[in-house]
């Protein structure tokens, strides 16, 4: 089933795929440590989110947050974005009409989404993907690595046209953390991000 990048379904599919994949098991056999992921909103995202299915995917992750958690976004770029879309942070997600939100997304400019980030985590551990989910910005602050980049770079990764290592080397993505460990375990990074390209996106 085709899914939206970054939606709950997408995270679940990656996890399922990884835990059946021999290449992943081998590539991450000695890996220890979480990787925090940061997707930065850009023009390509605005284009995608003008489609109803994408908004539905986005809302599926927002709906995982409690109202208290959502309140933490007050005054942040994400909070401001919700306001620009016409929603309060404690809105009942079930009442949001995806078609209407997609229309509102299509009227936004790059300035409106400046600084908006979506966070996630993946944590392979000795051949098993034990954690793979969206997270709050303050979670996993001490993760061994942070992999961040604009939405378009993540999409390039999902299309299989470029690997995470290529994207990081060319500066399209940023990788921070324990680099001497990463140097010896780059295969693990590639083993996971290679799976992204096997997931069909809407």
């Amino acid at each position: 089933m085709a899914v939206v990048f970054g939606s709950m379904e997408w995270y679940e599919q990656v996890k399922e795929l990884a835990n059946k994949d021999e290449g992943f098991k081998k590539g991450t056999a000695d890996w220890e440590g979480a990787v925090r992921t940061v997707v930065i909103m850009d023009e390509e995202l605005l284009k995608d989110y003008s489609r109803e299915e994408y908004v539905r995917g986005f809302m599926s992750t927002v709906s995982l947050m409690s109202k208290e958690q959502r309140a933490q976004f007050e005054g942040t770029p994400m909070g401001n974005l919700m306001k620009k879309l016409g929603y309060s942070l404690d809105v009942d997600i079930a009442t949001i009409d995806p078609a209407e939100s997609a229309k509102r997304f299509s009227q936004l400019t790059l300035d409106d989404v400046k600084g908006v980030e979506m966070h996630g985590v993946f944590e392979p551990y000795h051949g098993i993907l034990r954690e793979m989910r969206p997270i709050m910005p303050d979670e996993y602050k001490d993760a061994r690595f942070t992999l961040s980049g604009p939405y378009s770079a993540w999409k390039a990764l999902c299309s299989g046209k470029q690997t995470s290592v290529q994207l990081v080397m060319s500066g399209k993505m940023k990788l921070e953390g324990d680099m001497s460990y990463m140097m010896k375990h780059m295969a693990a990074m590639n083993a996971l991000t290679k799976l992204y390209s096997q997931i069909e996106l809407v």
């Binding site: 290529q166 080397m169 990788l175």
Partner: protein, 423 residues
């Protein structure tokens, strides 16, 4: 021709054929052209009507520049054993022209491994389709102010000690990059090349560790290619300076834009080139050994051919040992480095790769020296191949890193990577 001790290779018909075919090319095309180029004025070597370009064209027809390029981009993606066999045979022919085809493929291989789909379309594909020798690559790393610094700086923990002046710099400029500075006149093939995989210093330009790398068409405004230098060895590969004055490249030509990765990736590239050096200098050592065998069979002193004297046999045995150990050590290292480099995993064990280069170039120099000594005064004349082999072997101790610097970096590397434990 030597006896292949590894039965897996000896009994493999395809590899045996590849060796014979490459050897024939090295003997019939490379050696005679290299001899002619060796005795020409450097300026003439780099001129369009020089045999240099004919040989490059023929090497491209044979596909030697495509060895490392991924199949999906039109390359051959040869196995490490195939790469090893080809490089040793070409090096047997001449290390100068082998260096030329080697550096030619660096921008290509880097663009294929790390480039965006646009770069593959703009540079790699047309280059792959070129049978006329229109494209020619080079690999400028060192500057006048920084030679060994680049080698030792890969793992040395205090690279800022090497200063922060004299680099070729790249700075962001709108959605592209702008490049300034000059690379050393030791850049192989630079006077003839039209593309470079250029090593640059990235912002904030604190030290040699702020390293990056990009593809630069040398036809861009602001690039100056210096004249070929006159030198002792590798005279069949023209070398010269490259200067960059506000040269602008688009963002997707910058392959290594992050210093941390630039440092790892450069170690990866140097590990691959070190393996190439080790293969071709094993070839040179073998050529020098064969010249000694030939000469000592013919030359009679003390009433019998030199080869019949036990003291000469002992020397030949020592040379044999050196050539054979270089071949088999290099082959095993190349297998590991090649596999890991293609996977872009940066765990290729640089220490092994650099040590293979140091070992092969050291023994090539020693064997060439021993062989030249066995040639008596004839070994000092241009009538005998050993004279050129000896000069080329001398250059091998410095090419792609002084052996002392490579050894030092190998030590830093295996200590840092924790690959040698005593538990």
């Amino acid at each position: 021709m030597y006896f292949e001790i590894d039965s897996g290779i000896r009994e493999n018909e395809e590899l045996t054929m590849l060796r014979e075919q490459t050897h024939k090319f090295a003997a019939e095309v490379i050696r005679p052209a290299a001899k002619e180029l060796d005795q020409m004025e450097p300026r003439k070597v780099a001129q369009k009507d020089s045999p240099y370009f004919d040989v490059m064209k023929q090497m491209k027809k044979m596909g030697y520049h495509r060895m490392q390029v991924l199949k999906e981009h039109g390359g051959l993606e040869l196995t490490p054993d195939e790469i090893h066999i080809i490089n040793e045979e070409l090096g047997w022919g001449s290390v100068g022209l082998t260096t030329a085809i080697g550096v030619d493929s660096i921008p290509l291989a880097m663009a294929s491994l790390a480039g965006s789909p646009e770069l593959i379309e703009e540079v790699v594909r047309p280059w792959m389709e070129d049978t006329e020798g229109k494209y020619h690559g080079c690999w400028p790393v060192m500057e006048e102010a920084h030679g060994s610094d680049y080698v030792i700086g890969m793992s040395y923990p205090y690279p800022e000690e090497f200063g922060n002046k004299g680099f070729v710099t790249a700075d962001r400029d709108g959605d592209g990059w702008v490049i300034n500075g000059a690379k050393s006149y030791w850049t192989s093939s630079a006077p003839c090349a039209n593309y470079a995989f250029l090593i640059v210093n990235l912002p904030p330009h604190r030290s040699i560790a702020d390293i990056g790398g990009c593809i630069v068409p040398l036809t861009l405004p602001g690039v100056t290619q210096g004249p070929p230098i006159d030198k002792l060895g590798l005279r069949d590969d023209p070398q010269g300076e490259l200067a960059f004055d506000n040269v602008r490249i688009p963002a997707h030509y910058m392959l290594l834009a992050e210093p941390v990765f630039g440092r790892f990736a450069t170690k990866g590239v140097i590990s691959s080139t070190s393996c190439g050096m080790a293969c071709m200098f094993t070839g040179l050592a073998r050529a020098a050994f064969e010249e000694a065998l030939k000469y000592t069979r013919e030359r009679v002193q003390g009433g019998r051919p030199l080869i019949e004297h036990d003291v000469v046999k002992l020397k030949l045995s020592d040379m044999f040992l050196k050539v054979e150990t270089a071949r088999y050590f290099t082959r095993v290292v190349l297998r590991h480095v090649s596999e890991r480099s293609r996977a872009l995993t940066f765990d290729q064990s640089t220490a092994h790769a650099l040590s293979a280069q140091v070992y092969a170039t050291n023994i090539a120099y020693e064997v060439a020296h021993q062989s030249r000594q066995l040639h008596g005064a004839n070994g000092l004349t241009k009538d005998y191949l050993i004279e050129k082999l000896y000069r080329d072997a001398t250059a091998g101790l410095m090419e792609d890193g002084a052996n002392e610097a490579l050894s030092l970096e190998a030590a830093y590397s295996f200590l840092e990577e924790g690959r040698y434990t005593t538990e």
